[in-house]
Symmetry: C2
Subunit: 280 residues, 2 copies
Amino acid sequence: MTRTIAQQAQLALLLEVATTPKPGNVDRRHDHEDLRFEHFLAGAAGANDGLRALADPDGPPIGVAFERAVEGMSDQSGGNTQFGGLLLLAPLVRAGALGEVTSERARRIAEGTGVEDAVGFYRAFEHVDVAVADPPEDMDALDVRHGSDAVPAVRERGLSLYDVLERSTDHDEIAREWTGSFERTFDAAAAIEERDGPVTDRAGDVFLDMLAADPDTFVAINHGAEVAEDVRERAAAARDGHIDADDLADELVEEGINPGTTADLLAGGLFVALYRGVDV
Amino acid sequence: MTRTIAQQAQLALLLEVATTPKPGNVDRRHDHEDLRFEHFLAGAAGANDGLRALADPDGPPIGVAFERAVEGMSDQSGGNTQFGGLLLLAPLVRAGALGEVTSERARRIAEGTGVEDAVGFYRAFEHVDVAVADPPEDMDALDVRHGSDAVPAVRERGLSLYDVLERSTDHDEIAREWTGSFERTFDAAAAIEERDGPVTDRAGDVFLDMLAADPDTFVAINHGAEVAEDVRERAAAARDGHIDADDLADELVEEGINPGTTADLLAGGLFVALYRGVDV
């Protein structure tokens, strides 16, 4: 194994987008009209220096390295490609740099973030439009859509990135992973490890299982909870063989429904699986 | 534009393999049985540190950086994915690091290589099996298939990498580019720039034009000159609309014919086009 931690992380992003079918998402065989496969390739290539900063045990705070990764990712015309994936990877990659990729270590890194991490996170929103939920009314000053303009409020309140994400756990699965135990990420990794065959085939099965298990929070933010539950049910039907997964993929692309958070979780799972030695 | 030269080079490798149809090659919609799309993704991710060494104006000799890129590329189970592409990129990427990617500058870099570059080149063959032609009888000591064992002979004769490649120009198009003016590479870049639309669509058209114009030397090495000429004629028929390019792609994959050198030239052309500002 000669791949570095940063290379494993980048490869996880590439394998994620290559995995097909991944109903509703851009994959090897599916594009959305304005968000295409090549945008994800450019996003992964551009994220490289930020990933290397995350993989450096003496690197900057992970929120700062994350911002660097998002800045590089954004140098393409498709818009947001891997913001959520990079956010999920940040503590996992740093965990690998500091010793071992375990949920405990990633959790300690997440809990150990400070104000500068939160500042990097807010600044990352300057580089790309990310679909997010409205904040509670009393939280307007901390709306991520303010980007850098929210930094004074973040500093004044002394919020860490962990604190910020903790306020989004009701509607964002990546925030739940970060402030929980990265349970779904490590479950995805284990499921990839258990299977046989080409890694993107395994990842396709695991994606369908994940989408069938829980409503995608990115779909819920963009289309509402009912649509997210409907997508979950259709994914379960595909997983159980009642409908064809490839047909579902075509349908969801046509409907403009993009279960991006489940794809982000898959990228995290692929990174952990690669780190543990799954071959490509 | 925030992508670095190394990131542009890596993205060129990724866009090359994503480009479809690219008859006979692995692409977004085609795999060979033991050489699959994901192997190329892993190859590109693994090549990153070598590409960064190539993109460093104070970096090691390009042959040494090339070996590092090939070593990283080889950490996947598919075998040779981008050896030729990396060899072609080496002087182009260093040219970008030293000022500007022009054929003149790349040519000067190629001509300026020394014995250590040649040593790196031979050592690169230790990392991966590369299909090559038999050397002339009096050249057996310099057969690249000897890998590091040929290094004493290289040193004794004081051969540069340019010298070594000059001896392969009769049967290898990458050697011709290196010891010529990188003409087909820069022609490919210009053809990509002239077209409109998504960059991988443009690259697909350019690939077919290139395959229709000249017999692929990698096909000639593996299957003989007649087969290479037959592939050229079929590519011309596809370009001219007499047969379907997607059908040709399926046929060539089935026949186990892989016009890899034309794909390498496309990777070089994509790099130059990205460097000059073609958007993704």
